[in-house]
């Protein structure tokens, strides 16, 4: 029983991080049709920036979250305005470019922060643990991460489902041409969403760093899981990223506990099964190209 509770907690909190990462990835994929492979690298940049603020400067953790998000958002702006906008519909070029950005950003981080990985950092009030079941303790940081994930999910859901700009974003995912034909500058909307997605990635990096720290290969290693979550959850929807994130988080967590030998494989197995049953993902919509 204790083990089940612990594994659920582990799975949900890891899922929360995955959700934080994937909500932005999924949105930008849905809105711009660009699969930004450097999304994980932006997460990493955010985590490093957060380290500079929270550890190096010793400032407030939430300020670090904000700064991580802002820097990643700014990088997103540069990427979108400087590059992707000019590569409209050129899928191969876009994918290559986003892949290239992984290397550029990783080398930038190496240059600025050096090769030594940074230890996990968090607000002083979130460090340590408290007792939950029996003589088992649980980390506060993980619960905080879970909480942030839930709050962000609620905020994003409200934004996408209950606001006019959210309706425009969904309309664009349904039928981009028609949206433009109604006089909406969808390019601007897409830029906004892209930057928002990058901002969330950067902020997520700082939040994730409170559990995992920062290393130079984070951009690449977290990307794969993020892609799995987007495939499983379905692109372009907040609910999809949430369901996908939590599901993959739980599978990983229970996989490690019950079938350690095949836990990694299990994630891909689930992905394949879902692709076979529902190719657009659990919450996916069919996205028209026109």
């Amino acid at each position: 029983m204790e083990l089940i509770i612990l594994n659920v907690l582990n799975g949900v909190s890891f899922g929360a991080i995955l959700f934080l990462l994937c909500s932005g990835l999924s949105l930008t994929f849905g809105v711009m049709g660009i699969l930004n492979l450097s999304h994980g690298a932006l997460y990493m940049v955010g985590a490093y920036v957060g380290w500079s603020i929270a550890v190096h400067q010793g400032l407030n953790f939430w300020l670090a979250v904000l700064a991580g998000g802002l820097v990643a958002g700014l990088l997103g702006l540069i990427m979108e305005r400087g590059f992707f906008r000019h590569l409209h519909g050129m899928i191969n070029e876009q994918v290559l470019l986003t892949f290239g950005f992984i290397y550029i950003l990783t080398n930038l981080c190496l240059w600025i922060w050096g090769g030594v990985p940074k230890a996990p950092y968090t607000a002083p009030s979130f460090s340590g643990s408290f007792d939950i079941v029996g003589d088992w303790t649980y980390s506060k940081a993980r619960l905080v991460v879970t909480g942030i994930g839930i709050v962000l999910a609620a905020v994003l859901w409200f934004f996408q489902e209950k606001t006019r700009i959210g309706a425009i974003i969904r309309a664009g995912m349904d039928n981009k041409e028609m949206t433009i034909g109604l006089g909406i500058n969808y390019g601007l909307v897409a830029t906004f969403v892209f930057i928002l997605g990058c901002f969330i990635a950067g902020a997520a990096g700082v939040i994730g760093a409170s559990l995992f720290g920062v290393t130079l290969d984070l951009g690449m290693s977290i990307l794969l899981l993020a892609l799995v979550v987007v495939v499983v959850g379905g692109k372009g929807s907040v609910q999809g990223a949430l369901v996908g994130g939590i599901l993959i988080g739980l599978i990983i967590s229970f996989g490690k506990a019950l079938f350690p030998q095949i836990s990694t494989f299990l994630v891909y197995l689930v992905m394949i099964v879902i692709l076979l049953i529902k190719p657009s993902g659990i919450m996916g919509k069919k996205v028209q190209d026109r």
């Binding site: 582990n10 030594v116 980390s139 290969d217 990694t264």
Partner: protein
């Protein structure tokens, strides 16, 4: 058309960035004297291990400095080639070039284990001195090169004393282990557990995490309580993540930690972790706190020339070159493979980690130090607590 132009700009940007980040990919030769002794070196000067490559190069050149780049009256020509990151075919190409075009008498390197496995069989006609253990796991018996030498001890031999120490000195009777899911980590853990079990200790649980794992909490949640935990995970990032989660779960007080290599917890990373890791134990050949003259000389000259602190791996590279120089001196500069092999087997030297010689199986034997993280002079440091003299591999696999 506009897109074409932008694409062009992007390509140029990419190329320039690539060139900026890859300093010297081409090999270079130090001199052109035909009477010289040619030593080929394969090092990762680009890719993820570039940091190590540079450190290895520094250490080898430092060893050459100490003899004025001359041995038995002959000039030494060092030909360094970049083996790339984990590019096995590139390493092999470069090895071929060194052997066939440059006609080197002996090879040092490569660094990456996979590359070593592909280069070793190819260079079976000349001595190849590995400055890293390159034959873990199932590859142990597939050496394919009777001239292959390894300066560092094998991975299991590295951790063997730690297992003895845990049982004999710390009264540990049960352990749970966690390691990365690949050959090197298996070997590190195996060395500990073999020693530990031979004394009567019990291994109650073994967990293996994928190499790219970042979230260790699930493993910790499923941990069986034992007297100690043994970590065979390589690499500082994984350790940072694991320790931090260990701490968040409040486990440091409950189960002391033994780690395979001190080198995977280098000084800057220790400072990152903070006081919670005080008392963590590990094992290593070379430590910056060693007081023997060879260690001191190496440390001082390295710091003077390169303004940074060398680690155990750098000491292996330095030792490797020292051993090669000693053998060449013994042969009078003769690079005939069998003569050189015999000379290498007879080398007896005092190196930074202590007295060195090869075992019959051509694996280096030096003293090993069980050490502990302590705060000394305001900084977290590895402090040796017990020294184990060098000895042949406990399982001699190289007849």
């Amino acid at each position: 058309m506009k897109e074409k132009k932008i694409l062009f700009v992007v390509v140029v940007l990419f190329l320039s960035l690539t060139i900026l980040t890859i300093p010297f990919s081409a090999g270079y030769a130090k001199s052109k004297n035909t009477k010289s002794i040619k030593i080929g070196v394969l090092l990762p000067l680009t890719g993820p291990y570039a940091m190590w490559g540079k450190m290895f190069q520094n250490s080898m050149e430092l060893a050459l400095d100490s003899v004025g780049w001359k041995v038995a009256g002959k000039k030494i020509e060092l030909i360094i080639e970049d083996e790339g990151g984990e590019d096995v075919s590139m390493a092999l190409e470069k090895a071929k070039k060194l052997v066939e075009a440059n006609r080197v008498g002996l090879l040092l390197g490569p660094f990456y284990g996979g590359s070593a496995l592909s280069v070793m069989p190819y260079t079976s006609s000349i001595p190849i001195v590995n400055v890293k253990w390159s034959q873990p796991g199932k590859n142990k018996n597939e050496i394919g090169n009777k001239y292959g030498f390894w300066v560092p001890t094998t991975y299991p031999d590295n951790t063997y004393p730690l297992g003895q120490y845990a049982y004999e000195e710390k009264g540990i009777r049960t352990v749970t282990t966690i390691g990365s899911d690949y050959d090197c980590a298996y070997e590190f853990v195996e060395g500990f557990t073999d020693a530990f079990k031979s004394k009567g200790g019990k291994v109650i649980q073994q967990q293996w995490a994928p190499l790219t794992e970042i979230d260790y909490t699930p493993y910790l949640s499923n941990l069986k309580m034992a007297d100690a935990m043994v970590i065979g995970t390589l690499g500082p990032p994984a350790k940072l993540a694991l320790f931090s989660q260990y701490d968040q779960l409040g486990l440091f007080k409950k189960m002391p930690i033994f780690i395979s290599e001190v080198g995977t917890l280098p000084s800057p990373v220790m400072q990152e972790m903070g006081d919670k890791i005080i008392g963590v134990k590990g094992v290593e050949k070379f430590l910056t706190s060693l007081k023997n003259p060879e260690a001191q000389e190496f440390l001082k000259s390295y710091q003077a020339k390169y303004k940074s602190v060398p680690d155990d791996k750098a000491s292996d590279a330095y030792s490797g070159m020292k051993v090669v120089l000693a053998a060449l001196k013994a042969t009078g500069g003769d690079t005939d493979p069998d003569t050189l092999k015999k000379a290498l087997l007879n080398v007896k030297l005092n190196l930074p980690p202590g007295p060195f010689q090869f075992s019959e199986g051509r694996v280096g034997m030096v003293p090993l130090r069980v050490s502990e993280v302590q705060r000394v002079g305001g900084k977290l440091q590895w402090v040796p607590v017990k020294e184990y003299p060098g000895r042949p591999p406990y399982v001699e696999t190289y007849p």
